[in-house]
């Protein structure tokens, strides 16, 4: 199977950055169709730069990015790339344009020239996936943060992308809103079979991912399943990232000579071992 996202020896330098200061430094990543990949890193690690590069908002200084085989440097393919790769950003308020939920969701596909009745079908389906059908006639600005973000995601889904890239989609949400979005991401990936690339600094959002890539200074510092990555408690702490409390406790007990399996993620797994 060919990767749907292929990043090869990618460098990115911001204009005016000090000589040799790369935001991304010789980064190579492949993401395969249907994968749920999480990119974790603290602010300034290069993760948002990566998001902008992936749909051609900015172009690589060196190296290549191909989305479903299309190079982001190929200007003629830019619209196809953006249709393949939908983006969800941090602030839902900046992503909503219409005054009625269903009109907002229809905006994208309408601009793609999707005719009726398919347009309506797409809107209905997108609303169903994010579980917001009953709000279709509501005004977006009266919804909660989590609901608004789900509308933003539905707007992307209505364009039927193969890949959904999310750049810190929960950073501005309260705990309930975050849980809603984590649930939506799981549906997108497992039920809808979308490839998901989730960029975040919240560790609790990535425990369901197939693969976690930890970025530090534009390079891959750690990579593996969530279990593999989080069990490296010391390295994660050094990188300024959190690990689940259950993992930290198991690691600390193992360090103190208690015989237990240290690569656990959840409260249930921890309790089972104590």
């Amino acid at each position: 199977m060919d990767p749907i996202i292929q990043i090869e020896h990618l460098d990115y330098m911001y204009e005016g950055a000090p000589e040799g200061k790369k935001a991304l430094d010789d980064l190579s990543i492949e993401v395969y169709p249907g994968e749920f990949v999480a990119v974790l890193g603290h602010n300034g690690s290069g993760k948002s730069t990566l998001a902008k590069l992936l749909n051609g908002l900015i172009l690589p200084t060196n190296g290549e990015i191909r989305i479903a085989g299309m190079n982001t440097k190929d200007e003629e393919r830019l619209w196809d790339i953006r249709r393949t790769c939908g983006m969800v950003f941090q602030n839902p308020d900046n992503q909503i344009i219409a005054t009625v939920v269903e009109e907002d969701i229809a905006f994208g596909p309408e601009n793609l020239g999707v005719p009726m009745p398919e347009l309506k079908e797409r809107v209905d389906r997108a609303l169903a996936i994010v579980e917001m059908e009953e709000y279709r006639k509501h005004a977006p600005h009266l919804l909660s943060g989590g609901q608004k973000q789900r509308i933003a995601i539905a707007g992307i889904l209505a364009m039927d992308p193969q890949v959904v890239i999310m750049d810190e989609p929960t950073a501005m949400l309260d705990p309930q809103g975050r849980e809603e979005i984590i649930g939506t991401i799981a549906t997108l990936n497992r039920t809808e079979k979308k490839t998901v690339l989730l960029i975040t600094h919240y560790m609790d959002e990535v425990v369901e991912a197939d693969r976690v890539i930890v970025l530090e200074e534009g390079r891959i510092a750690l990579q593996g399943t969530p279990r593999e990555v989080f069990s490296r408690v010391e390295e994660m702490k050094r990188l300024g990232l959190d690990v689940p409390q259950a993992t930290e406790m198991a690691w600390e007990l193992a360090r103190q000579g208690i015989d237990l399996q240290a690569d656990i993620l959840t409260v249930e797994e921890l309790v089972a071992q104590l």
Binding site: D174, P175, A246, M249, E252, V267, V271
Partner: protein
């Protein structure tokens, strides 16, 4: 230092749309307390804190800060806003000056302080939030990182030398490192300045770490008031209003049920959990 009596705030009172945002709140906040204020979105947290510096006025009841009632006509003149510093959510959105120093100096200048005194205040405030005056005072605040911008905004409030500092979700949107740095600074500020702090947060972990007293708001009412150990043993009651106890607290409660060991129902940190577990394990070896 703050006395709240029968505080009610009602939207559209007397109309069919009447809605209580705050209902029958009675409490006192003493000098030197570190209050953690938690509650679901819409529980009234922001409305509540805006009553403490007079930005909002009670529909019924009174709020008294060091003898000044927030409804007094001359409350502002008597320095209410200066006594109670309020750092809003995403305070960096309110930065506006050309340089960091000018932005922080805005408040003290409005108090009518001399240029020298203002600069002393700016230096002190930057120091308190871990920003280097030498390196940053001349920079545009808009060139700084997110965490630095937020510190500049907090310094702007600190430069007013408030007796009470209210922070509404000061770590929202920050990464774990940025969050820990800000919380450490708030904690240091509390230890060194003897300032009264009210921290509004969604994070049970952060509140458990810092607060000496926790207020839980639900539907505009204070439904719990106590220290972390008292509050976090009420798992069911917290769940019922959409809040959750820290994972480690939850895990240790389950271990207690499973083993029958003497584990308190309100373990707050991973370190404490490790210590309790090792102790009990030895006792039952």
């Amino acid at each position: 230092m703050i006395e709240i009596k029968n505080l009610n705030y009602i939207y559209h009172p007397g109309s069919p749309y009447e809605k209580y945002a705050l209902r029958d709140i009675n409490l006192q906040i003493r000098k030197g307390e570190f209050i953690g204020l938690i509650g679901h979105t819409g529980s009234g947290k922001s409305t509540f804190v805006q009553h403490l510096n007079g930005l909002m006025k009670p529909t019924l009841g009174t709020v008294n800060v060091s003898g000044i009632s927030t409804t007094d006509a001359d409350a502002a003149k008597r320095g209410l806003r200066q006594k109670v510093g309020l750092v809003f959510q995403y305070p960096e959105h309110q930065l506006f000056e050309e340089t960091v120093a000018k932005d922080i100096a805005f408040g003290p200048q409005n108090l009518g302080l001399s240029e020298e005194e203002t600069e002393v205040r700016v230096r002190e405030a930057m120091d308190m939030v871990g920003l280097s005056f030498e390196k940053l005072h001349d920079r545009s605040p808009f060139e700084l990182s997110g965490g630095q911008k937020r510190r500049v905004a907090i310094a702007g409030v600190l430069a007013m030398k408030p007796e009470v500092l209210i922070l509404d979700e000061p770590t929202a949107g920050l990464d774990p490192r940025g969050r820990d740095e800000i919380l450490d600074e708030i904690s240091a500020l509390y230890e060194s300045q003897g300032i009264t702090i009210i921290l509004v947060s969604h994070s049970m972990e952060d509140i458990a770490r810092l607060a000496t007293r926790i207020l839980v708001l639900d539907k505009g009412q204070v439904v719990m008031d106590g220290d972390a150990r008292e509050i976090y043993r009420e798992e069911e009651a917290l769940n019922a209003i959409g809040l959750d106890i820290p994972d480690i607290t939850k895990a240790m409660k389950q271990v207690a049920e499973k083993t029958g060991w003497d584990i308190p129902p309100n373990v707050l940190t991973v370190q404490e959990a490790v210590d309790v577990y090792l102790r009990e394990r030895k006792n039952h070896a």
